[in-house]
Amino acid sequence: MSDGGDHGGGFVPRRFVIGQFANADALLDGTRKVREAGNKSLDTHTPYPLHGLEDALGLGRPKIPTLVLLGAIAGACIAYAMIYYMNVVDFPINVANRPAHSPPTNLPITFELAVLLGGSSAFFGFFTLAGLPKPYHPVFEADFFARASIDGLFLSVEVPAGGDVDKVAADVRGAGAVEVQTVTESER
């Protein structure tokens, strides 16, 4: 999900074509058409998730479930190892001759840390994958884009360096966009 914003020394502004669509079906349909016309780096911008967006954008398997599973396993292992080390190896406390290593009493904390690390991986994993926080993005330059979080449905296409903006804009318009704007990244 990287935005490919490696500019090196000289600033080369990225260019985007943004199209607004009238309704969800038009957006999904339009996204598919624009992608099939050979455009890369497509993204949609909607106030809520739409059913079928993944297919329209041609996205692969989501990565979050794997991350969460790994986080939860790591949490459980860390917790159990920590309890074992502290209460068995480093400082065993003999209470009424009960065994130093008692698996049932270790379960609650093992579970809690699995949830803690699994949940944290979902949260921090998402923001890392999404590249957020990122207060500035070229798509915000479009003056109609504020509607993306309110009721607007948008498709944005990043025009590759040396690519033809007008051709991409024509593709987006041809796919059913009701309004199309082109924006250029500003240097800051």
């Binding site: 904390i109 579970f111 949940g119 926080p133 979080s149 309110i150």
Partner: protein, 470 residues
């Protein structure tokens, strides 16, 4: 892998009343749900805020006094070694549980009505857990030392927590619960903060909400992962919420005090937690939907659903009481029998017992009838009584059990001091202050999810219409 959000295909045929009233578009939902954030604070808000802030002041005084004088200023003393501190801790944690139940469990069960009240209830969870956490910390007497008494911290003393103690489990359970609830709440809030940013009229507000919105741009690539992160956090929160009150109940159930030593505690604590939590949501939601203009998304159907949950969990709690008494009799243990049939019912604190029975077992019976569930004044009063009842339940379990244990020579009565009472009222003030600030600065209803629900409902209606035509 299929998307985690299923599309509903038709409205509930058994209950034709709508979840969203009137003809709404994304724009009207956006405007009506954000209206209460944009409009200036009214007289009512300031009046409530003043009261809440005064109570918060009382909390500051009581905490300062506790830290200065030590916990000897509290009323608990042997044999009643645990009293207000733990009662309030369990009570607040329980109130928090409704938030997680609504946001996580009802999400997994695909209960569409949760959408209008989840943000509200999740905020309640966070603030209730903050209030709850104060009590065990203060009960250590020196909270600044508590870090390495409670957490496994490599100190020069080379000593570690005793991991076989439910009190240590509690530390991990409650801190995990707070962290995960906060992450879940914030993750759900980010798209709404973006909507706030983009609806802002002034530059300053746009900037302030923009910082918290983290540059959210509704990207489809983000949504694809976001949906999974959200549903998995819900999936993790579900066993978490059950484990938290289970572990809290272990603090009692693993000991030998008559009235504590029982295996029914974990499920009965969890049901009681949900019971009191829903009551607290109703207590705040009934006035809030009126004053914040949320009646089109929090409809009579939502209130009725909450009443049904209160009735069901109230009946589970009642069953718990019955079983406690039955086992006390059936076990043949004279101490258990005396605790349940003599001390609680006829002892010096029997008033609290009978108040508990009235509030928790009798009051929810009002919700069997539709009239009881739809009369807002009745529901509101009942919700307050239920929280009184649940506080009494914890008082009964903790103080009543402790003040009459095995040795009559140890028996002693208990009374709270002004510090105990001020701490309790003070946390209500802290909770209310935080909640009023939340209602002022953040949309009380999960905007994005209501829009999504509206879209799904419209889609379902549209789809059904097309099928009829064909």
């Amino acid at each position: 892998m299929a998307a985690p959000h299923p599309v509903i295909t038709s409205p509930d045929p058994l209950d034709p009343r709508p979840l969203i009233e009137g003809k709404q578009t994304d724009q009207t939902i956006n405007d009506s749900l954000l209206e209460h954030v944009w409009r200036g604070a009214g007289k009512g808000w300031w009046a409530l805020f003043g009261v809440a802030l005064s109570a918060l002041g009382l909390l500051v005084i009581a905490i300062t006094y506790t830290l200065y004088k030590g916990i000897g200023s509290w009323g608990n003393n042997i044999p009643v070694g645990w009293a207000f501190g733990i009662i309030n801790f369990v009570w607040w944690i329980g109130i928090g549980h409704a938030g997680t139940l609504i946001s996580a469990i009802l999400l997994l069960l695909q209960q569409k009505w949760r959408t209008s009240i989840n943000r509200f209830a999740e905020a309640m969870t966070l603030f209730a857990v903050i209030c709850a956490l104060l009590f065990p910390l203060l009960h250590t007497g020196r909270p600044w030392f508590a870090a390495y008494w409670l957490m496994p911290y490599p100190s020069v003393q080379g000593i570690w927590p005793q991991f076989k103690s439910p009190l240590t489990w509690d530390v991990f359970a409650v801190s995990t619960y707070f962290t995960i609830s906060l992450l879940f709440w914030f993750l759900g809030l980010v798209p709404d903060l973006a909507a706030l940013r983009d609806s802002s009229k002034s530059r300053a507000k746009r900037f302030a909400y923009g910082i918290f919105a983290l540059g959210w741009r509704g990207s489809g690539r983000h949504w694809a992962e976001y949906k999974w992160a959200y549903v998995l956090l819900a999936g993790l929160s579900t066993p978490l919420v059950l484990s938290v009150h289970t572990i809290v109940s272990f603090d009692f159930a693993t000991s030998v005090i008559p009235g504590w030593h029982t295996t029914i505690f974990p499920p009965y604590f969890v049901a009681g937690a949900v019971f009191s939590g829903f009551a607290m949501v109703a207590t705040w939601m009934i006035p809030a939907r009126e004053f914040l203009g949320l009646k089109h998304v929090v409809t009579a159907r939502h209130i009725e659903m909450m009443c049904k949950v209160m009735l069901a969990t109230g009946m589970i709690v009642t069953y718990g009481y019955v079983m406690e008494h039955f086992i006390a009799w059936y076990s043949g243990d004279p101490y258990e029998f005396a605790q349940f049939f003599l001390v609680r019912q006829r002892g010096p604190m029997s008033g609290v017992y009978w108040l508990m029975i009235f509030c928790n077992c009798i009051v929810p019976q009002l919700f069997w009838t539709k009239r009881g569930r739809t009369n807002l004044a009745v529901v509101w009063m009942a919700s307050i009584l239920i929280n009184v009842g649940m506080w009494c339940e914890r008082f009964n379990i903790i103080v009543t059990s402790l003040h009459r244990d095995f040795l009559p020579s140890k028996w002693e009565n208990y009374g709270p001091t002004w510090v105990d009472i001020s701490l309790f009222i003070g946390t209500i003030g802290l909770f209310s202050t935080l909640f009023l600030l939340f209602l002022k600065f953040v949309p009380a209803v999960a905007l994005t999810e209501v829009k999504e629900l509206r879209h799904e409902l419209e889609h379902a209606e549209h789809g059904a219409g097309e099928e009829k035509h064909a």
